[in-house]
Amino acid sequence: MQSILENPYLIAVLVALVPLVWILPYALFAIWLERKVSAHMQDRLGPMRTGGWHGWAQTIADMIKLLLKEDIIPSKSEKWLFILAPYIVFAGSYAAYAAIPFTSVYIGSNINVGVFYVVAVSSLVVVGILIGGWASNNKWSLLGAMRSAAQIVSYEIPSTLAILTVVMVVGTLNLQEIVKSQEGWFWNWFVFQKFPFLFIPFLIYFIASLAEVNRTPFDIPEAESELVAGYHTEYSGMRFAMFFLAEYANMFAVSAVAVSLFFGGWQSPFGTALSGPAWGVFWFLSKGLFFIFVQMWLRWTLPRLRVDQLMYTSWKVLMPFAFANIVFIGLWMMFSH
């Protein structure tokens, strides 16, 4: 028994499974929350019956339904690519969790290029989307996948520039170090520091992350009214559920990065009060879920941009601001030393 627990490979697998333990219940909860939030914003009730209290078991029932569905692979599709695509998409968003510090004592892999790794590995999602759109052999899927690739690649630039601003201030790429340097009361969080030169990057990052996870007003790749369901038009059953799961996992991943970079990560807002590893998990998850809620709020309020307007927003609005901000923060750093 003792020797099994000391086996480093086994420990690695166990540690790697921890985010999955979070993602699965979280995704079920977030989908239920999305339904309830949208319903209450629209003068409806949403699911009320399944499971009793406010339909809490609705998504569990849906998940079982999706699991039991017939597995349909279009006969004209590229079979292996079609099967592979959802796993790549999910792998991309899941891998990002490895470098996210859930609390002061838990981080999947405390690598010193943490932020860089998260940005890089979550780009893998694009590959999966492109494969899925191409392999479906459907014009709508292909259009959706092409749009998605263009969109995600474009928005990675402003979001990376926004992240870079924080990295310039802290001087490290390690997310755990970044969180630790925001110790103290909530005014020590980076979003309130060097005002407004760290607040603007937060806005840029948040807008760009909406585009990266294909949420309204940037949900163009899956624009229902134009492209039917975009790149996952041909997917059904569990494969569709994988895309869905990846989308929600991705939503939390970008929120977690925003929280770690700008809102103190697992730090308590009240200095040393209510802090500690367990409280750290609580603060981290509640801050993350708050941003999930904001994403939902925006989704059910705003219409959708057009493709060219989306590109305009990225290249001509967010990019110049992000660059100018880097220059200002650089000057600030130079003169304050």
Binding site: S38, P303, R306
Partner: protein
């Protein structure tokens, strides 16, 4: 170096597509995301209305079929058909009948515009206004239900009268609706009409110049959005519309340009306010009388023909009825506004993007039941 050549792609939009508003198929030729040409293919919902009408043994029996033409504006369809047959017969209906018809037609106009506006928001990607619109439309359907028992296909306006008089409490309930609905229009404007993204998506898109609109026979809110102040309720009044005081909203240059998709949308919003004014006036001055007194026992119009046009929410709805002196119509021809309005789609969507095509089609506000009949 050889010139880089790209190929055009033919894409079938519909008949199963979320934003073709029914079973419409658009054959779209695309160059990347740019629409090179678009050809609407219709006929998926053709139900031989005109032939059915000839087979009826009674003029009143046509009315349920008329209901099903534009199934979201049944009252207006009934009204136009009833007026056409009444013209053949030379009947004068009591004033109370005309007033109630106006109330019903205007309520139905609001209901129809709410669908147009709500689904348009949905086409642009805004989900919530759609449900807000349907919430308000539900109140109108409740009023119709208490009047004639039906929520969608009413068979309420008959030749020479109405199937029922207004029930007790209708006037109060209608006033209560007006009171709750007025603020909701403002809410809709805050949420959708003046939303920056919504304006970006719809203003200056699919501009329809007034002369093109007239050449294509475009009518209704679409024509008015192009700046032509033409409303049959004012220009050729029927059913005592000349007694009511209201304005005709037309397209403006405030936000987009006259004739663009945003103006087509906005004209409908403004028309809902005017309809509320008309309903209020009609409720205030509702005369008393018997709504069934003028209904003929047997309808046998003299040999002849009549054409009556009316302003349905979609545009000019006309019925051309020929009588051969027997009890059933010899021929009924409908001039449907959705059909004529749809014909202008290729003209205004060339050079737009796929996303714009959806925005343009939504702003035309077609109902396939009326396009195909």
């Amino acid at each position: 170096m050889a010139e880089f050549r790209t190929e055009e792609m033919v894409l079938n939009m519909g008949p199963q597509h979320p934003s073709t508003h029914g079973v419409l198929r658009l054959e779209v030729v695309l160059d990347g995301e740019i629409v090179v040409n678009v050809v609407p293919h219709i006929g998926y919902l053709h139900r031989c209305f005109e032939k059915h009408a000839e087979a009826m043994t009674n003029y009143q029996q046509v009315i349920p079929y008329v209901d099903r033409m534009d199934y979201v504006t049944s009252m207006n369809n009934d009204l136009a058909y009833a007026l056409a047959v009444e013209k053949l017969l030379g009947i004068q209906v009591p004033e109370r009948v005309s007033y109630i018809r106006v109330i019903m037609a205007e309520l139905n106009r609001i209901a129809s515009h709410l669908i147009a506006i709500g689904t348009y928001g949905l086409d642009i990607g805004a989900f919530t206004p759609f449900l807000f619109c349907f919430r308000d439309r539900e109140l109108i359907l409740d009023l119709f239900e208490m009047t004639c028992g039906a929520r969608l296909l009413y068979n309420y306006i008959w030749v020479g009268g109405l199937s029922h008089d207004l029930p007790d409490g209708f006037v109060e309930k209608a006033r209560a609706f007006i009171k709750t609905f007025r603020p909701n229009i403002k809410e809709l404007n805050d949420l959708l009409s003046y939303n920056k993204i919504f304006i970006d998506r719809t203003a200056n898109i699919g501009v329809l110049p007034a002369d093109v609109a007239i050449n294509y026979g475009v009518t209704g809110p679409m024509l008015r959005a192009s700046g032509v102040r033409w409303d049959l309720r004012k220009n050729d009044p029927y059913s005592l519309y000349e007694r009511f005081d209201f304005e005709i909203p037309v397209g403006t240059n405030d936000i987009g340009v006259v004739g663009d998709s945003w103006n087509r949308y906005m004209v409908r919003v403004r028309e809902m306010e005017q309809s509320l004014n008309i309903i209020e006036q009609a409720l205030d001055n509702l005369p008393s009388g018997d709504v069934k007194s003028a209904i003929p026992k047997r309808i046998r119009p003299p040999v002849g023909e009549a054409y009556v046009r009316s302003e349905s929410p979609k545009g000019e709805l006309g019925f051309y009825v020929i009588s051969d002196g027997s009890g059933s119509p010899f021929r009924v021809k409908a001039r449907s506004p959705s059909f004529c309005n749809l014909s202008v789609l290729p003209e205004i969507s060339r050079g737009a993007m796929v996303a714009d095509l959806v925005a343009i089609l939504g702003s035309i506000d077609i109902v396939l039941g009326e396009v195909d009949r």
